[in-house]
């Protein structure tokens, strides 16, 4: 890899004003593809989810998936867009072996949704409004796997394998207007925008929007202009940036790279760039001169899409609470500060905590378990919270057992560990591992007596008024009961038996 000189971030921003454009592709979670009845299920055998239509066989014709259109309208409405009363699909003509028809059915100058905005919240609470140019419907391509080369890219490969299962899966492409005025916060804005968009898409229920699965992919277009100038600089287009962190890093890297090139008297080439997760850098892809010509024309095989105003209004009424507003409400309901709320959000725990409280747990308990024990486990095992094999209802049950005194925190952690290990639901784990708090006063009394007898010196200290020393005896009792005693009750009993006020 060629070494690229970078300007320092601060120096870059001292001279230049970044302008960004973000293009996000979202794979819709429809059951069937955009133009045929094939399943959209992922991770199936190669080419098993195909038919004459999505393979582009001679004679086959597309038919629009109504749920796909509905999803596009919902996204448009949630992004405060106008919804087209009449629009068409268009053919985007270019050649690539993973595109069966050698044109992509997309939309060109008549997108289904246009002229909207999305308010995103930055980490310090500031709201930044990102203007939306358009959201349009299109189909995904198949997937190429280049074999035999060192990089997995086509260069140097001996052959390529084509899987058309993805060909024809509905995509919505959401394009921002140029994002100006973010200054040094441009990378943060980019990340916050994609994060907010992802939350929005999930809240709408139109896609799971999992970036790591490629269900949501972001292109970061960026240019710099000297402070005080109006005209945009030449942009680079960093393709397929597929995590929130990467979006921020890609924007930051490109700001520094552009500044270095410009400061050294060079010019920015309009090109696509590949992003590299391992070091956050980008490298040159293909040059995009303006001669690239997709020969768009209206798709003659599809009739225009003309969503009635009544339908659009009906969909508008059914829109869920917007994620930013919901977060604000939950933050207040839970009584947490901005920083903690952000942590919960970053951990992907909001919905899980809500589901846990819905299952009957107090919100502080729900937060405590998801952000504590479970977050730790997720971290250690490299999973996201929602991938853990534990349900909100199970977490709520653990919280209930703690509240009733049947479990203490230490035992509760063991119960969750058992649930995560697949030993069954919380009650089963309690049963199997014998984890109930020892509440039998007789048995507990005996254990306390034994602990006092075995630690006479400490007992004397306590009798002498050193109440703090009780901790050692509590520890002994807990050890003797294998942790199954309620520590607070043990302490009470010890003090009682030694005739000391607690």
């Amino acid at each position: 890899m060629t070494v690229i000189d970078l300007e320092s971030y601060e120096d870059a921003l001292a001279t230049y004003d970044p302008v960004m454009g973000l293009e996000v592709h979202v794979e819709l979670g429809t059951k069937t593809k955009m133009f045929c009845g094939c399943s959209t299920e992922l991770k199936q055998d190669a080419n098993s989810q195909t038919c004459p239509v999505c393979l582009g066989l001679p004679g086959a014709l597309p038919v629009v998936n109504e749920i796909g259109v509905e999803s596009a309208i919902k996204i448009g409405l949630a992004l405060n867009c106008e919804i087209a009363e009449w629009c068409r699909f268009a053919r985007k003509n270019y050649f690539y072996p993973d595109m069966p028809k050698n044109f992509q059915t997309s939309q060109y100058d008549e997108p289904i949704a246009f002229n909207g905005y999305l308010d995103v919240q930055l980490e310090d609470g500031e709201i930044f409004r990102v203007q939306i140019e358009r959201a349009h419907m299109e189909e995904d391509t198949g997937k190429s796997t280049h074999v035999g080369g060192a990089t997995g890219r086509i260069h140097g490969a001996s052959h390529s394998l084509l899987d058309y299962n993805r060909a024809g899966i509905p995509l919505i492409e959401i394009v921002t207007k140029p994002i100006e005025g973010a200054g040094a916060r441009a990378p943060e804005v980019a990340k916050a925008y994609v994060a907010e968009l992802r939350e929005l898409i999930k809240a709408l229920g139109v896609s799971e929007a999992r970036m790591e699965m490629g269900q949501m992919r972001c292109d970061v277009n960026l240019s710099l202009r000297p402070h005080g100038t109006e005209k945009f600089g030449t942009r680079s287009e960093t393709k397929n940036v597929n995590s929130l962190r990467s979006v921020e890093r890609a924007a930051r890297f490109e700001i520094q790279r552009h500044a270095a090139v410009l400061n050294s008297g060079g010019t920015i080439v309009q090109e696509t760039r590949h992003f590299h997760e391992e070091d956050g850098s980008t490298t040159a892809g293909r040059i995009k001169d303006n001669a690239e010509d997709y020969r768009y024309f209206p798709e003659p095989d599809l009739v225009p899409v003309a969503p009635s105003r009544d339908w659009a209004e009906e969909l508008r009424k059914g829109l869920p609470e917007l994620p930013r507003l919901r977060r604000k409400r939950l933050k207040e309901e839970w009584g947490v500060n901005e920083h903690d709320m952000q942590s919960i959000l970053n951990a992907g725990a909001v919905d899980l905590i809500v589901a846990t409280t819905d299952a009957g747990a107090p919100s502080d308990q729900a937060r405590k378990w998801w952000m504590g024990e479970l977050a730790r486990n997720a971290n250690e095992t490299g999973r996201s919270l929602d991938e853990l094999p534990v349900t909100p209802a199970q977490v709520a049950r653990v919280a209930e057992l703690v509240a009733s005194g049947d479990l203490n925190d230490k035992l509760a952690r063991q119960v969750l560990e058992g649930v995560l290990a697949g030993e069954g639901d919380p009650d089963t784990v309690v049963e199997k591992r014998g984890l109930k708090v020892v509440s039998d006063e007789g048995a507990l009394g005996t254990a306390v007596d034994e602990a006092i007898a075995a630690n006479a010196a400490i007992a004397d200290k306590i009798r002498g008024g050193k109440v703090a020393a009780a901790g050692a005896l509590v520890g002994a009792v807990m050890k003797a009961t294998r942790g199954q005693a309620d520590a607070a009750r043990v302490r009470e009993l010890i003090l009682e038996k030694l005739g000391v006020e607690g």
């Binding site: 066989l57 001679p58 069966p100 044109f103 003659p300 095989d301």
Partner: protein, 500 residues
Amino acid sequence: MTDISTIIKLTAAQIAAKIASGELTAVEVTEAHLARIDAIDEKVHAFLHIDREGALAQARAVDAKREAGEKLGPLAGVPLALKDIFTTQDMPTTVGSKILEGWVPPYDATLTKKLKAADVVILGKTNMDEFAMGSSTENSAYGPTGNPWDLTRIPGGSGGGSSAALASFEAPLAIGTDTGGSIRQPAAVTGTVGVKPTYGGVSRYGMVAFSSSLDQGGPCARTVLDAALLHEVIGGHDPLDSTSIDAPVPPVVEAARNGSVQGMRVGVVKQFSGEGYQAGVVQRFNESVELLKSLGATIVELDCPSFDLALSAYYLIAPSECSSNLARFDAMRYGLRVGDDGTRSAEDVTALTREAGFGDEVKRRIILGTYALSSGYYDAYYGSAQKVRTLITQDFEKAFEQVDVIVSPTTPTTAFPIGERADDPMAMYLADLCTIPTNLAGNSAMSLPCGLAPEDGLPVGLQIIAPAMKDDRLYKVGAAVEAAFVEKWGHPLLEEAPSL
């Protein structure tokens, strides 16, 4: 046992009736037509593929159904020649192109399914200009088809195989597709009947696309009634074709059984005359207009100025759409693959395959269309052509405020000799002068025989044009004209064709 020469002269309606009554079996009928094909198709070359076993199996199934007392479709057991542009799971589908040589599709076109479901016996696939681009069938990669009236002349195109099969009595029914006249012009030059239904009237699913907004499958036959019976079988809404019209098939059979022009207003368009029209064609057309008058029609002269621009608009729209539709033929997934010796890139293999697999006319139109859609030229070419299309549609709308149907010669000349226009694309394009406006506007039209041109003794076609979804008017008028002509001639026109 009825002899072969009698069976092959029967109309589809007659065959269906005789099979239904038990006078003939479907197997007898199928064997008679296969024998006819065996005897003459070497000379005519109407067929690219003959499905002897499949046809006989279908015929046996029809006979078994009849014996079991099951209900038979209106065309049960009637043989049909299918244009090689519709996908068939049990036969190759080449579209007359080397690039699809040997390709057996994994699915049946909706039209193919409907034919099979109606117990029609598909004899095989017929020759055509490659990808339906042409007016003579000379652009077929598999050699030309002869016109049964004179084997040295063209049978029309692109559906010359289907029209020749009808005119040579190899089949009583055939299927064509009409993008700019490919059903009607072949019908005209072979003395047969062909109908381009309203756009969206017959499903395009499984019909290999040339120009999606113009392509329309339709019935071909030797009589107006037979065409109507076939139209009813293949027509109707198809959820797999989003441009298919969600409405019942117009009452075409009823109209064909009740031919009349009494009290109808019939338009004659000024633009369908003048330079380039053969004298004998004009003469037969004028006689047809007189005939219509004598049958009780009122003739109205019409001016449709935008029709003069139709040919130009067509030759921008059709190539533009074809340049995109044919992009999929890249040697990757099906069909021909040339030069894949392990040393070449996918791009090189695609280029070599296309060089070898596409004929000159196809390449010409892909290049034309690619150019017309290019950024910077789009508005001047494709965009302008779409505007002309709107004007033509408006001219038709205005015309149909004044008349019920329009009539014209189907084609300016009779069948020209094979080879005469092969190197002159512009001369070839003029063959579709009268048929193209209907494709651009999406309404319906029919061609039926109106006599022989005195100077060459070859058939002349009369075109009848009706508004969209008023296809039944074509049959009502067509049946009246056909009856009057047959009465006048004393026999159907094809009786005068040479026996091959």
